[in-house]
Amino acid sequence: MAPARLNRPRVALRALFWEFLKVSLFAAGGGIAWAHRVAVDRRGWLSDAEFTDIVSLCQFMPGPNVVGVAVCVGAKLRGAAGAVAATAGFVVLPGVAGFAIGTWLFRHTGIAMLQHILMGISAAAAGLMIATGLRLLRAYRRQPPALLIAALAFAGLALAKYPLLVVLVACAPLGIGAAALVGLRAR
C-alpha cells in the first residue's frame, strides 16, 4: 500500500504474538509505555510518530486502550492477521494464567489473612485509578467548562449512580459543544 511499507521487512506473526505477550506480562500499570519500547525502540517496527498516532486513536476510542494499541500495531504491520496475532498474544495466555491464579485464590478467601491482603490491594488500586483520572484532568486545569463536565460525569456515575449510557448521552454533547465553542473563540 503506502510506499514506506515497501522498505520495511515483513514482520513475522509469531514475533507480534510474543512481543505483545511480553507487553501484557511485564507492563503492570503502564502497558502503552512498554508497547512503545518494544515496537519503536527495540524492534523498530514503527516510527515514533506512527506510534503516537495509534495511541491518540486508541485513547479516543472505548475499550481497554492497550488492547487497542495491540490491534492497531498488528493491523499496521500485517493487516487483519497481524491484529489477531498481537491481540491473541496480549490476551490469551496471560488471561488464562491470571484466571487460574485468581480462581485458586478465591477458593481460599475464607482465610482471614488473604481476605485482608485483598482488601489492602483493592484500596490501593482504587487510589491508583483515581490518580490516573486526575492526571488526565491536569491538562484541562485552566479550562473551567472542561472541569465542570468532568465533575458532572463523576457525579452522575459515582454519586447519582446512573447507568454509564445515561451519563454519556447526557454529558458527551455538553463536552463536545464546549470544545467547539472554545475552538471557535480561539480562531
Binding site: P64, V91, L165, C171, A179
Partner: protein
C-alpha cells in the same frame, strides 16, 4: 444463576458497556457493580476481591476481572463469555476505526470531539476509582491507603506495583 438466559443478559450488558467504555474499562466499573450486585450474582465483597486480584496480577486486568465475574455467575462458560464480551466489540471497533483513521485525522470535528470527550472520560475514571474505594465499605485506614496511593502516583515516579505490594502487606498485618 444457572439458567443460560441470565448469562446471556450479563454478557449482552458487558458487551454493550465495553462498546461505550470511553476512558477504558474503569469507567464501566460503577455500572457493572450495580448490575451484578442488584441481580444477586455477586456480593460487594466478591466484586472488591475480583478487583484486587485483577489489579495485582500482570496481564489484561479488566478482561480478567470480567472473566472472574462470569465465573462466579455461571462457571467456566460464563468466564469465557464475559471475557470475550469485554474485548471483542472494542477490538472490532479499533480495527475498523484504524482503517478509516487516516481519512479523518485532520478533520476539525474529530479534534473537537476528542477535546470534548477527554475531560468527560477523566471524570468517569475518577468515578470508577471512587466507587471501588467505597465498594468494600471499609474504615478510615482503607481510605488512608487509597489517598496515599493516589498521592504517591501523582507526586512521585514510583512504580505502582510498590503501592499495591505495600498495601497488601498492610492488609496482612491487619491494619486495614
Amino acid at each position: 444463576m444457572s439458567e443460560p438466559a441470565a448469562l446471556g443478559r450479563l454478557t449482552a450488558h458487558l458487551a454493550m458497556l465495553a462498546a461505550i467504555s470511553f476512558g477504558g474499562v474503569p469507567s464501566v466499573l460503577p455500572d457493572i457493580r450495580e448490575f451484578v450486585v442488584v441481580n444477586g450474582w455477586l456480593t460487594n465483597q466478591d466484586f472488591s476481591n475480583f478487583f484486587a486480584v485483577a489489579q495485582a496480577i500482570p496481564g489484561p486486568n479488566m478482561i480478567l476481572m470480567m472473566s472472574f465475574i462470569g465465573w462466579k455467575a455461571a462457571g467456566l462458560p460464563g468466564a469465557i463469555a464475559c471475557a470475550c464480551a469485554t474485548f471483542a466489540p472494542p477490538c472490532a471497533m479499533y480495527f475498523i476505526a484504524y482503517r478509516f483513521w487516516d481519512r479523518f485525522r485532520e478533520a476539525r470535528w474529530q479534534r473537537i470531539a476528542r477535546a470534548g470527550l477527554a475531560p468527560l472520560t477523566a471524570g468517569l475514571v475518577v468515578a470508577g476509582g471512587t466507587v471501588m474505594a467505597g465498594a468494600a465499605d471499609l474504615g478510615w485506614p482503607a481510605v488512608a491507603v487509597t489517598c496515599g496511593a493516589a498521592a504517591l502516583l501523582l507526586l512521585t515516579r514510583l512504580n505502582p506495583l510498590w503501592m499495591i505490594g505495600a498495601a497488601g502487606v498492610l492488609g496482612a498485618l491487619g491494619v486495614i
